[in-house]
């Protein structure tokens, strides 16, 4: 199936190439003219006629009018070389290679010609910079810390990272991926810190991508993932330049994609998905507490409803005597078995979330309130669901949103359903079997060839300093073993720890 698909893609690509590849510049112009936003006109001067061609939706008109046209009209140029000298813009190319010209035309260059029959022409960059301004992060919002988030422009994003890491070792490698989209992709790493093997893995995997269009960095995540059938994200996506910079200096590798406001960070571990960058802005006791709360909330979110179903369906013995009355009372009017009740409520919550996410913010909020309060109360009063379960499901949904990485939150909400199913089949035993499946799966998953469950397994005590607990910075003098960095020391521990004697 997969092979067939690839073959089909390759063949179609080849025929397309044969048909569409222009051989001369005039061919190219002819082909481009079929599109309505292609503009071509000539300026007649005594020294000759200059042909100007560009795609008007890609270029910045200001540049054309202010920096190019005046110099063409008023001065006397005889050839392209003269022209190149007289236009006050850097990065003007003189080219006669048609494929290059085509590519430049499509990326916002203006073509200047004297003679329509010769392929040689002048290429002037006038790409319109219609980016949005750098704004505050919305998905990984933090109360403290920098309020900058990546935007859709790769250059600006690189600028945001470089500004934070002013070092010669920060290396950017660029490549274009996507047979149709030709998206520019940058791989960032700090030379001398990041592991060579990791770098090679990333670059090799990105080069090997066979896909027609890369619209966002999340395409890359899926395409280069070690296990593409895993519901767990294997690269962290972040919109925070500070988080990316920190990861880079730790020895990780970041991938930035043109047109995507999300950077990818790898290799990563499961635990890292539950650490918010804000943890580093708080002192370590507070940060550790929050991380522990987050871990518990994740466990609660996954296990609460399945355990409810398991206990009420099979293990009534487990219910403490004082709780018995409450549970039986809340269930006494419900016509459905616990599993159906739970699935209905879980789906209702998913519906609310989905509806809230798809609608504009203001309407979305209303939907949330209407759904939460009205539907919830009504279904309890109508005797369709028990109020105890309503509390559990609502808390579980809330808990799933505490994960700082959005993609992980989705995964957590998803893996709850197999657990529900197993709970219905074999109660607590089923939950345990499902947990074993999950555990084995997590053991099998790798992120860029590095174990996903590290530092839990393989157990590396040293790496535990920044997982569920976050020890103070003074204890974090070494880079994680998992990254196999070339330079393992972050700073000199002795120097940082030097203590003065009392009253000295």
């Amino acid at each position: 199936m997969k092979k067939f698909f690839q073959k089909w893609m390759n063949s179609s690509q080849q025929t397309e190439n044969k048909k569409n590849e222009p051989e001369t510049l005039s061919d190219l112009i002819d082909m481009a003219s079929s599109s309505k936003d292609f503009v071509r006109y000539k300026i007649k001067k005594e020294t000759g006629t200059i042909y100007i061609s560009y795609i008007k939706t890609l270029i910045d008109m200001d540049t054309l009018h202010r920096d190019i046209l005046p110099y063409i009209q008023h001065e006397k140029q005889m050839n392209l070389e003269d022209l190149k000298g007289s236009i006050p813009i850097d990065n003007i190319l003189l080219s006669e290679k048609v494929p290059e010209i085509k590519e430049k035309l499509l990326s916002g260059y203006i073509i200047l010609q004297f003679d329509t029959d010769i392929d040689e022409c002048l290429l002037i960059k006038a790409l319109s910079a219609s980016n949005r301004e750098v704004a505050a992060p919305e998905i990984e919002f933090s109360v403290l810390g920098p309020k900058e988030a990546f935007v859709e422009s790769l250059d600006k994003n690189l600028h945001l990272v470089r500004k934070r890491l002013p070092t010669m070792n920060l290396t950017v490698e660029e490549m274009r991926i996507g047979t149709t989209s030709k998206t520019l992709i940058s791989v960032l790493y700090v030379k001398g810190t990041a592991n060579e093997e990791n770098i090679n893995t990333v670059i090799q995997r990105i080069r090997e991508i066979e896909f027609d269009q890369i619209m966002d960095s999340s395409f890359i995540t899926q395409l280069i993932a070690d296990n593409q059938n895993s519901p767990f994200p294997q690269l962290i996506d972040s919109e925070r330049p500070d988080r990316v910079s920190a990861a880079l200096s730790e020895g990780k590798i970041a991938i930035l994609v043109e047109g995507s406001p999300h950077a990818l960070i790898g290799p990563t571990t499961l635990i890292e998905f539950f650490s918010s960058f804000e943890d580093y802005f708080l002192n370590w006791h507070v940060a550790t507490t929050f991380r522990v709360i987050r871990m518990f909330s994740v466990m609660f979110s996954v296990f609460a409803t399945p355990i409810y179903v398991a206990v009420l369906t099979y293990h009534y013995e487990l219910i403490p005597k004082d709780l018995l009355g409450i549970l039986v009372t809340s269930r006494s009017n419900i016509p459905f078995p616990p599993i159906l009740e739970a699935v209905i409520l879980e789906l209702a919550i998913e519906l609310l979330r989905e509806a809230g996410a798809r609608l504009p913010t203001k309407v979305g909020q209303t939907i949330g309130i209407v759904g939460g309060i009205v539907i919830g109360t009504a279904s309890v009063e109508a005797g369709l669901t028990s109020n105890v379960l309503l509390i559990i499901v609502a808390l579980a949904a809330l808990a799933s949103f505490t994960t700082p990485v959005y993609k992980m939150g989705n995964t957590i909400r998803l893996i709850r359903f197999p657990f529900l199913l197993f709970a219905q089949l074999w109660g607590l035993l089923g939950i345990m079997v499902c947990f074993c499946f999950l555990l084995v799966h997590l053991l099998r998953v790798e992120s860029l060839g590095r174990p996903y469950l590290e530092p839990l397994y393989p157990p590396r005590l040293q790496d535990l300093k920044d997982t569920i607990v976050r020890l103070p910075f003074s204890a974090q003098s070494l880079r994680p073993i998992n990254l196999q960095t070339e330079n393992t020391k972050r700073f000199n521990k002795q120097k940082a720890k030097q203590k003065r004697d009392i009253d000295e």
């Binding site: 005597k321 039986v328 006494s332 089949l425």
Partner: protein, 360 residues
């Protein structure tokens, strides 16, 4: 492809799995919290169960079912004929035996519960002085589950240290121990209220006698000691009564001599404070020594008479024999049982009143 085939198989299994393991959905079962057994005539007995019904408005009503049969299973089947939903044992709180039933022996009945894995090890057993069926059917407690109410009554007394800790596990542990006889709480009715009437003593699984309520505290003290118990005692020398509280006491059985003629001394170091004193408060600090001495002699007398009466009946719920078994390497249960009633068991109290001034 492989994955697809596997998932297809799994999907089929899931459809099949709809009819797997027997479910016991909480609201589709009747949770028995109390079972009572009465002796009727010849070999039959009557079983009565109480099932709490939790109403949607939050109130609780007790429902009763009763059947007469030969063994537990038989009664269970007859009970099932009367109920809308299956009766389950998993939340059984307490099993009550009518006093006549207890005198015929409770082991066979209890064994059913010991073997049933769904029954808690912390389930209580108790003897009721009277007919259990009448008690269960007639006793009305508003908005409370009867089984749980009785369990709480017993647990409360264990916490107050007026009765040793008890449950089905401890009952069987004692039953299977050489040199110790099991005992159970004895419940009774007074003025329409159920109360802890005393201790029912068992020999070989049959109830043979009972201790009155007045012996409860002393029995508990001798059996398992106090963490924070209390006593009210007369002080004859001062013509007053003293109430001791926060008593910390650990009974120690010391054995001397050889197996054939052991000399047994019960030593109890008692540490407590005076809660109340009915006599002249002034100068109580000086009377402490006197009170201690008086308390010692009163307690010693009480303890000795309790132990003597147990000895005369050939009962050993305090586990003196078990203690001897732990002490002597060549202890033999038969020889012990023969010499037990004639043993000279001394009791020594060493009271230490740590505070006297605090009056609450």
């Amino acid at each position: 492809m492989m994955i697809r085939i596997i998932s297809l198989i799994l999907a089929c299994i899931l459809l099949m799995a709809g009819c797997t393991t027997k479910q016991e959905i909480l609201d589709d079962i009747n949770l028995i919290t109390l079972i009572g057994y009465d002796h009727t005539d010849d070999r039959k007995s009557q079983g009565t169960v109480a099932v709490p019904q939790y109403k949607p408005d939050g109130t609780v009503q007790n429902e009763y079912y009763s059947a007469i049969g030969e063994i537990g299973q038989d009664i269970g089947q007859q009970l099932a004929l009367q109920t809308q939903r299956p009766l389950v044992n998993g939340k059984l709180e307490i099993v009550l035996f009518g006093i006549e039933f207890a005198e015929k022996g409770v082991i066979e009945t209890n064994d059913i519960f010991r073997r049933d894995p769904s029954v808690s090890a912390n389930m209580k057993l108790a003897v009721y002085d009277g007919n259990v069926h009448d008690f269960i059917v007639n006793h009305r407690i508003p908005n409370q589950d009867l089984g749980m109410a009785l369990t709480k009554l017993i647990e409360q007394n264990s916490k107050q240290e007026t009765f040793p800790r008890t449950n089905i596990h401890l009952f069987f542990r004692t039953y299977f121990t050489k040199g110790k006889d099991p005992f159970l709480p004895l419940l009774g009715m007074k003025d329409g209220k159920v109360y802890l009437k005393g201790v029912s003593l068992f020999k070989e699984g049959k109830m043979v006698s009972a201790l009155p309520a007045s012996d409860l505290t002393m029995f508990t003290l001798l059996h398992s000691g106090f963490d924070s118990g209390s006593f009210v005692l007369p002080v004859k020398e001062l013509n007053a009564e003293v109430s001791l509280g926060h008593i910390d006491a650990e009974p120690k059985v010391e054995m001397r001599g050889n197996v054939n003629s052991p000399q047994i001394t019960y030593t109890i170091k008692l540490k407590g404070l005076i809660n109340e004193y009915s006599g002249d408060i002034k100068g109580i600090e000086k009377k402490v020594k006197l009170i201690e001495k008086s308390v010692n002699s009163v307690l010693e007398k009480r303890a000795e008479s309790l132990i003597n009466s147990l000895q005369q009946q050939g009962l050993d719920p305090l586990g003196i024999g078990k203690r001897a078994n732990a002490h002597y390497r060549d202890w033999d249960v038969k020889e012990w049982n023969e010499q037990y009633p004639e043993l000279d068991i001394k009791v020594k109290f060493q009271t230490n009143i740590t505070e006297s001034g605090v009056i609450r």
